[in-house]
Symmetry: C2
Subunit: 262 residues, 2 copies
């Protein structure tokens, strides 16, 4: 409850049109931007700010909720409000599915994370046959039922990505693709062994705020959007052989693409 160091935060402008709680949010944001608070630092407590500005607690909380929505800070019950640290990001290059990366036994995710010095994990493995959603059905060319492979990826214990692959039953049923462990090189290697030489991929990218279910699965802080990526894999005959629906914590990813100028 010690008073705030003077000069750290300014005063309110009573003549301003800007709402008090916005002014407070502005000052905190600026202090963070200027480096007066660093990643992981604790901001002044609600009580501190109530004293400093002479406003009610709800007003201060209102300010914090703005910054939370911007993804700048996060509150921890019983501890305080902290500047949200930027987690290490995972870069996804557009050649990540190149055939040469498929030769080794381990999955691309594991190899790459190990190389980056992180501890990778894959869980929530679920493999089952199910009815195709209208969207998946359309992408796979009017299939009714599909094989769905769901898994969640974690980096150093933090969930960063949730992915589901959908494959037509006439391709996947009875093969190793339908097994929890698809073997070295993953399902793409198996698809090629089955005669579906991969020709190209199509990826659709959206960004949006997460659903409550996604917040839970990815343990997302408030103010963190998700990147929603839908990849369709085509074989040499132009047939869609897999649709992969991926939801990623946006603060953990940078996608990178190489495009020919053709």
């Amino acid at each position: 409850m010690s008073p705030l160091p003077s000069g750290l935060l300014g005063d309110l402008d009573p003549t301003s049109d800007r709402a008090v709680f916005r002014q407070i949010a502005d000052q905190l944001r600026e202090a963070i931007d200027r480096g007066r608070f660093h990643e992981g630092d604790k901001l002044p407590s609600e009580a501190d700010l109530v004293d400093h500005y002479g406003v009610s607690r709800m007003t201060v909380r209102n300010s914090f909720s703005i910054l939370q929505g911007e993804g700048l800070v996060h509150a921890e019950h019983g501890k305080g409000v902290f500047v949200r640290p930027r987690p290490p990001v995972r870069r996804l290059a557009s050649d990540r599915f190149a055939r040469r990366h498929r030769e080794q036994g381990k999955s691309a995710f594991i190899v790459e994370a190990d190389a980056a010095g992180s501890h990778p994990q894959v869980d929530s493995l679920e493999v089952k046959e199910e009815k195709a959603s209208p969207d998946v059905s359309a992408r796979l060319g009017s299939v009714r039922r599909v094989l769905a492979r769901r898994r969640r990826y974690l980096l150093d214990g933090r969930p960063v990505e949730f992915a589901t692959s959908f494959l037509p039953l006439d391709i996947a049923r009875g093969t190793q693709i339908a097994e929890p462990n698809p073997g070295p090189g993953g399902i793409y290697a198996r698809l090629e062994e089955l005669g579906h030489r991969l020709d190209h991929f199509e990826e659709e990218i959206r960004a949006r705020m997460p659903s409550p279910a996604e917040v839970k699965t990815l343990r997302l802080a408030s103010g963190v959007p998700v990147i929603h990526l839908i990849r369709t894999a085509f074989d040499g005959e132009g047939r869609a052989v897999e649709v992969c629906d991926t939801v990623m914590a946006a603060d953990a990813y940078v996608l990178s693409y190489q495009l020919p100028a053709t």
Copy 2:
């Protein structure tokens, strides 16, 4: 102030651990998901919900603020709270910079929007020389000063994208690239005329919540993230000849990429 149609929203569960304002948000979200409220529909007013649930107004407002953060609804002062309509999306295909699209006179944005039946606009045009940021400088290969071309794109009057192109001065200075109107085919056509035949592009994609400045420029509703795309164009000699920094309203875009399976 007429009572809510019964059955539209349920009751609270006082035995639940879940906070009251979350329960209310859950019920509203579910009602929206189930189609009881459609895009653009007005939700029950704060006063309606206060009566219906027997809670205080701040609790109801708290519920609305959750849904607002999720990008599901938006409030209009004096009118009510509405289900946020999904705006028409602009699809960006990875071949959008293909040479064949550059032959016509009009810019890709205008052509494409016209074709989609929308009314395109470009404003905030600013062209000037300035100091390169460390990031831009690194991408362009240690240049100190650059030509910056800023513009904002609007679709049917709504700002959807804000982009800045940075070009090395030794390439752009004194050419038509430094003019407000770069001529038919845009700056890429001019670059090729200047002997920089474009070889490939590299695009980096991030998603995050917008800064206050971005909220203003793009007139973003709360709960709408931005897609941040940084494209670098390389000529045949492997030199980076342009960096384009683009911030897009995420609810207005789907990015689409074709990748070879190599």
